[in-house]
């Protein structure tokens, strides 16, 4: 369980988060949404223990994150990184194997159980066809999937993603979303994702947390969070650009960024 309590983060004289309190129960599937600069990524980093809040506390599974060792955090929470640059030629399986870092033997390295977990993660995410390739030669979408496999291999109770669909085409976006849904329903993994695509967020996530200027503006089901006045107020766009379907199919809606006159 993740509990954020009264967290304020002041960074360079600017409050990135103001008095944010959220509680995420195990097994939840939560999307954090909001305009640029709302503090979404900051919130993720605070939850992952990378950033120490100026005030307030963050608890992970009942323990305060700032008191936990990095390894302990890594066993509870995995983060899909955003396309880091690889300095050396690294195969796909080597990247995924990094996910076992918190579990493997400190000196001897991966044990058979770790290798099995790597294989399972590759299979689960469906990147088996990329085996043996240099991760740097993959397309952005393929790389993102490999990184997702790495986080899956890390086998933590919570999976955190920061804008995982930014570089993906529509098909891959859906693939990732469905995979997250699968991880959530089948394995009970808590999913916490920052998304900019409101449509995807609304469709695949049962709970949305809307941030604006560092504050939680709304927290709940998509229908109530993405109420039209809220969209107009927070995003400053015509709410008709976001359409929530009653059925569980994705509706093609023009992405706000494709409209040159609209702020993104």
């Amino acid at each position: 369980m993740i509990r954020v309590d009264g967290v304020t983060v002041v960074y360079r004289e600017r409050a990135a988060l103001r008095d944010v309190s959220v509680t995420i129960e195990p097994g939840e599937r939560v999307a954090i949404i909001g305009p640029n600069g709302a503090g979404k990524s900051t919130l993720l980093r605070v939850i992952a223990g990378l950033l120490r809040p100026t005030t307030g506390t963050v608890e992970l599974g009942g323990n305060r994150v700032d008191r936990l060792e990095r390894l302990a955090v890594a066993r509870r929470l995995s983060v899909v990184p955003q396309l880091p640059v690889l300095p050396f030629a690294t195969t796909v399986e080597e990247v995924v194997a990094l996910g076992r870092l918190p579990h493997e033997h400190p000196i001897r390295g991966m044990r058979p159980g770790d290798r099995a977990a790597v294989a399972a993660a590759i299979e689960r995410v469906g990147v088996g066809h990329l085996l043996g390739r240099d991760a740097r030669e993959l397309s952005l979408g393929e790389r993102q999937l490999v990184l997702l496999a790495m986080a899956v291999a890390q086998d933590a109770g919570v999976l955190v993603l920061d804008e995982p669909t930014v570089h993906l085409d529509l098909r891959h976006q859906v693939e990732v979303m469905e995979l997250l849904g699968d991880l959530n329903t089948r394995d009970g993994t808590t999913i916490l994702a920052v998304l900019h695509d409101l449509g995807l967020a609304a469709h695949f996530f049962g709970r949305l947390i809307l941030l604006d200027h560092g504050r939680v503006v709304a927290d709940g089901a998509p229908a109530e969070v993405l109420a039209p006045e809220r969209i107009r107020e927070v995003f400053g766009v015509d709410p008709s650009f976001v359409r929530l379907g009653d059925d569980r199919q994705v509706r093609q809606v023009p992405h706000p960024s494709t409209r040159a006159t609209l702020p993104t």
Binding site: A48, G49, L50, E69, R70, L71, A72, V73, A74, R75, L77, S78, V79, P81, P84, V85, L86, P87, F88, A89, T90, T91, E93, E94, V95, L98, G99, L101, P102, E104, P106, I107, G109, P112, R115, A116, V118, A119, A120, I122, E123, G128, L131, G132, R133, D134, R136, E137, Q154
Partner: protein, 359 residues
Amino acid sequence: MPSRAGILAARPASRSGASLVRRPLVVAAIGIALLLTALVAGIAAGSVTIAPADTLGILARRLLGLDIAPTWTAAAETIVVDLRLPRVLTAMVVGGGLAVAGAAFQGLLRNPLADPYVLGTASGAALGAAIAVLIPVRALILQFGLLHALAFLGALTAVTVVYRLSRVGASAPMTSLLLTGYAVGSLLAAGLAMAMYLSGTGLRQIFSYLLGGFDASSWIRLAVAAPLIGLASLAILLRARSLNGMLLGEEAAAHLGVDVRRERAILLALASLATAASVAISGLIGFVGLVAPHVVRLLVGPNARLVLPLAALLGASLMVGADLVARLLGEIPVGVVTAVIGAPFFLALLRRAHAGYEL
């Protein structure tokens, strides 16, 4: 589910030498064989010809304690045991230490062009040595003179200064370290130029230190330096997991459970210690710390658990071989030999990268 064997034995399309790839044991065996060959050749060859049978006899008698009737002169025994053996072993230790330090720096800085001297250790050591030559003190403690002491201190001081200067808040970001290292190194190099200008007759001594060599090796020096370099290298090896974590960057490393600030400081300190001790006893010998980890990565991938020990093996062999070549060519500086071999090799690597094969 693909079998574990299937995943691990997959042939990476982008790595050459398919037969050696992912077979670290084979690479290790080749590395050990290479090292043994280099050691034997290093002991057997020199400006004085000693029959191989005599060399083996001397080694067996002195090292293994076997009771063999000497068929060689006392002078030959002195040459093998007191001149060549410590020299070859020193080259081995320094080569291995520099390779491990180089691999650590490359992993920490996530830069394949990093070498052990990248954070100013070389410039600091050189300036320390030059200052020592200017000071007319000739004391020797355990066969270490002022030159070794100041070179060692100079190297460590330079790294500490670079680290402190590149601190942003409580951490020292890697790009900051690299740039600060470059700046401090340039400053120290200017100091070195000044010292060389003032040195007069000591110029030759400074110069021969800069180019590096093992001709001053002795058992006592080896006994002091080897544990230092060896323990620092071993400590780095034991932290291979942290180096692996750094592969995707510091944030990702933190997410994977690496205490980035602590591990970076520890790894930097250990690698700098190994480098400082190496340059203190053998001067500035380049390319081994850069090339050995590279070659090993080409063969077995970037997993630090494999790269660190195998690079140590390769670095040791390279250094012993380079010293042998230097000796046979009339005692030219070892740094010249490593540069002559290492630079073309490096250029070849870069060209391959340019042609689409990435480093």
